[in-house]
């Protein structure tokens, strides 16, 4: 078989591609649902028309984005069976449960109540209609919890036993699965990062209008909201990321070693964190680097004299435990993904802090570059999120379920390379085309700006909303 027709390699590329793509839309769904819910609450409580305008403005962007999140999500679920049937056989008993729980507890809620929200403006009482967006927002967050819990089982398997006769893992404790220490840290980390992504979009949209001196009364509050959301969510992302780091060192020390490309076990000042390294591509020898002593020790153990295990020791340890083999992830990927994640995240928050300073006490900056930075910093948290997931998943390799099943043993044995190549090309073409359409539609919706507030009916004082949407 030709190398490029290797079903394993192609399936990995396909899963990476489709998952990253799906996750372009998920954070916006999660973050914008909450944003829309908050502004609609402000409108219901204060009656100020500007809050309704903001609600509908971001509501429209939310909806353009939502459909993509749904349909690309179905791909995710089907793919486990299609491309990773041996994985499905091995973990279905454990992994299927949180997926089914997600569907029954969260996804049905989200899909039903979003329909009520979109089409229910005129059919539901004001407060009930407000409740529908809150249910949608909370269900999308709950949904994320189950997915993170499922993923966390792959990082740190808990609550299971191996059934030798059936050759599979079986669930023994759902509570242990749902309170996996990795899930407890990864969930807030992911959700706050989702809020950062939507905050960046809000800032971008508001800055675009404000830099053109238009829609001041709606976009100024939106800008301030977005900037604060970014700073708060960003801070919480760092704090929860720190907790996730501790859980990672405890459960997957190899991943932390790979994040730092730390080959030899180091203690204290030697457990330094490099900001930048030049070396041979395999990362084994180093030409030049900028290092902060003690930082890796602190990140890994919260002490300055902690010991961080190196790749070589862990490799030897794992060979003893799991038999001969290479247990090292692709170091240059994990090393740089980890740094880019932090760098993009820090830049996004610093930009927002700068934005709060420039707009303090009603000020509006006049310099063009300030607005340009606000608009173009939009992709930063999204990029941080993508490389963060690349790090999480690539750092687990060669395992698909850490310590239990290797990725190469998980792929569908009967699916041919040609089939996967066909699907990979099909997904790439369709997803690529839709990305262009999606980007243009969101851009157009942003540039069109908020619509004029609907005027209340003269007699009843009721506001007439558009009855149909499609």
């Amino acid at each position: 078989m030709n190398d490029w027709l290797d079903p394993l390699l192609l399936s990995r590329w396909q899963f990476g591609l489709t998952t990253i793509y799906h996750f372009l839309f998920v954070p916006l769904t999660i973050g914008l649902a909450l944003t829309v819910a908050l502004f609609q609450t402000a409108w219901v409580r204060t009656g100020h028309a500007k809050y309704l305008q903001i609600t509908k403005f971001f509501g429209k962007i939310f909806l353009i984005n939502f459909a993509m999140g749904v349909v690309t999500g179905i791909v995710q679920e089907f793919q486990f069976g299609m491309n990773w049937s041996d994985y499905s056989r091995f973990v279905g008993d454990v992994f299927g449960a949180p997926l089914a729980l997600e569907g029954l507890l969260a996804f049905f809620l989200e899909a039903t109540f979003i329909g009520l929200w979109i089409f229910g403006w005129d059919r539901l009482p004001k407060k009930l209609h407000l409740a529908t967006i809150w249910v949608t927002a909370l269900a999308s967050i709950l949904s994320a919890y189950f997915i993170i819990a499922a993923n966390s089982f792959m990082q740190n398997p808990v609550g299971y036993q191996i059934n030798e006769a059936k050759g599979r893992a079986e669930l023994t404790d759902i509570w242990a699965l749902l309170t996996n220490k990795v899930a407890l840290a990864a969930f807030p980390h992911t959700i706050f990062a989702c809020f950062m992504v939507s905050a960046a979009l809000i800032v971008c949209a508001a800055a675009w209008h404000l830099s053109r001196n238009q829609h001041f009364d709606t976009m100024r509050p939106a800008l301030k909201f977005g900037l604060w959301m970014m700073v708060i969510a960003g801070t919480l992302t760092f704090l929860s990321g720190d907790q996730l780091g501790l859980a990672m060192v405890e459960t997957q020390p190899m991943k932390m070693a790979a994040a730092e490309a730390l080959y030899n076990t180091s203690t204290g000042a030697n457990a330094s964190f490099s900001i930048f390294t030049l070396g041979t591509p395999d990362g084994v020898s180093e030409l030049f680097s900028i290092r902060i002593p003690y930082l890796l020790s602190f990140l890994s153990t919260h002490t300055f004299d902690g010991t961080v295990e190196g790749i070589n020791d862990l490799q030897a340890q794992y060979t003893q435990l799991y038999g001969p083999g290479d247990y090292t992830p692709t170091i240059w990927v994990t090393y740089w993904a980890f740094r880019y994640m932090i760098a993009f995240g820090v830049l996004a928050v610093m930009t927002a802090v700068g934005g709060l300073w420039f707009t303090r006490k009603g000020r509006m900056p006049r310099k063009r570059w300030i607005w340009k930075v606000a608009i173009w910093s939009m992709p930063l948290p999204l990029a941080a999120m993508i490389v963060g997931w690349v790090f999480t998943e690539m750092g687990r390799q060669p395992w698909i379920v850490f310590s239990l099943l290797k990725t190469r043993d998980a792929v569908s044995p009967n699916t041919t390379g040609l089939e996967v190549l066909i699907s990979l090309i099909a997904f790439t073409l369709v997803y690529g085309t839709l990305a262009v359409v999606e980007f243009r539609l969101i851009k157009k919706a942003i540039q069109k700006g908020p619509e004029e507030a609907p005027t209340p009916d003269a007699e009843s004082g009721e506001i007439k909303h558009e009855a149909t949407v499609y």
Partner: protein, 352 residues
């Protein structure tokens, strides 16, 4: 009843939910070229009427397939793994169709140009027809059985899945969903489009009866049991009743009977499988059964409790949604103007 059998039944329930609900919105999607036009050709207002009949609900309907898939993954991992990896290209095409259809609903109304709308109309039609056909093909193949090796991996090719019986199964679901969708349009609209839908359902209903009857008889004779035969019979009777109700302009009854047809037909397929979930045609020893494909007792017990608590809740809030959007959709509700008395005064008329 043991737990795996209970979950086999629950899985049938989730797939029935999916086919009854998403089935008719596939049908509405497919009906666009037939009903979204009047004497002068394609009519955008009518197309918007059609799409708005399912606007608030298509998403929740489609969610049933996600839940059915996840339930299969959790309760019958072996079945899920065999089916989805074995029918790889079929599921790929289903996925692509669902993607294009889903985004088309959202994208279609984003720009006013007719060419833009037509493009997404076509995608809705294809994206509805393709899964409507392929889901029938998939389940017919499951009932018929496929060649499996000792590790339960499918050993055939994608071409083996297009046997005459499987293609007939696909045509059956295609026509059933189409007619069900058209009846739904007559139930949910008013004005000329409602009457056009009733007439179309009358014609497509006859074809559906013909094709479905052959498929159900074939299933019963070749793969069925007494019980599945009885269920097939009930499906056939409700199908005819649905057609008759449509002839008498009892749209609600027609819709209900056709929903029952889909439910009983799917149930009949599931019952004909027992005790297998996916029979192996080459060697019965390789067949996936309810017993050997299912999850552990712990997982199934847990899932049973979750289903017991949440399924009634889900049905309640989904029924509430249908109730909220019970009003008929008309041209007037799209354009905001009162329905004109003339057949169509929207276009320019030179002589006037």
């Amino acid at each position: 009843m043991d737990l795996p059998t209970l979950w086999f039944g629950l899985l049938a329930f989730f797939f029935i939910g999916y086919f009854v609900l998403d089935g008719f919105d596939f049908g509405v999607g497919m009906s666009i070229p037939f009903l979204g036009r009047d004497a002068r050709g394609p009519n955008d207002t009518d197309r918007r009427v059609l799409i708005n009949t399912i606007g608030p609900i298509w998403d929740l309907n489609e969610t049933w397939v996600i839940v059915a898939g996840a339930a299969m993954f959790a309760a019958f991992p072996e079945w899920y793994a065999t089916l989805f990896s074995g029918f790889y290209l079929i599921f790929l095409v289903i996925l692509l169709a669902l993607i294009l259809r889903g985004v088309s609903f959202e994208y279609r109304h984003q720009r006013p140009e007719i060419a833009w709308k037509r493009r997404f109309d076509r995608m809705i039609v294809v994206g509805s027809a393709v899964p409507a056909f392929l889901w029938g093909l998939v389940f017919a193949n499951v009932v018929r059985g496929v060649s499996l090796d000792a590790g339960f991996n499918y050993t055939g090719t994608v071409f083996d899945l297009f046997s005459p019986y499987a293609v007939l199964g696909g045509l059956t679901t295609l026509l059933l969903f189409f007619t069900h969708g058209v009846v739904f349009v007559s139930l949910k609209t008013e004005g000329p489009i409602r009457e056009r839908a009733r007439q179309l359902a009358s014609r497509s209903g006859l074809l559906t009866i013909l094709v479905a009857a052959v498929f159900l008889v074939w299933t019963t004779v070749s793969f069925g049991s007494v019980w599945s035969g009885i269920l097939s019979g009930v499906a056939a009777v409700t199908l005819i009743a649905g057609w008759l109700a449509n002839q008498r302009k009892a749209e609600g009854w027609s819709f209900t009977f056709l929903a029952a047809t889909i439910a009983f037909a799917v149930l009949s397929l599931f019952v004909s499988l027992v005790p297998d979930v996916m029979p192996a045609t080459n060697d019965p020893a390789n067949s996936l059964t309810i017993a050997n494909a299912s999850s552990s007792g712990y997982t199934l017990t847990l899932m049973s409790w979750v289903a017991l608590v949440f399924v009634p809740l889900i049905l309640a809030y989904q029924a509430f949604t249908y109730w909220v959007f019970r009003k008929r959709v008309s041209r007037a509700s799209i354009t905001g103007a009162p329905e004109p008395s003339a057949p169509d005064v929207a276009g320019p008329k030179v002589s006037a």
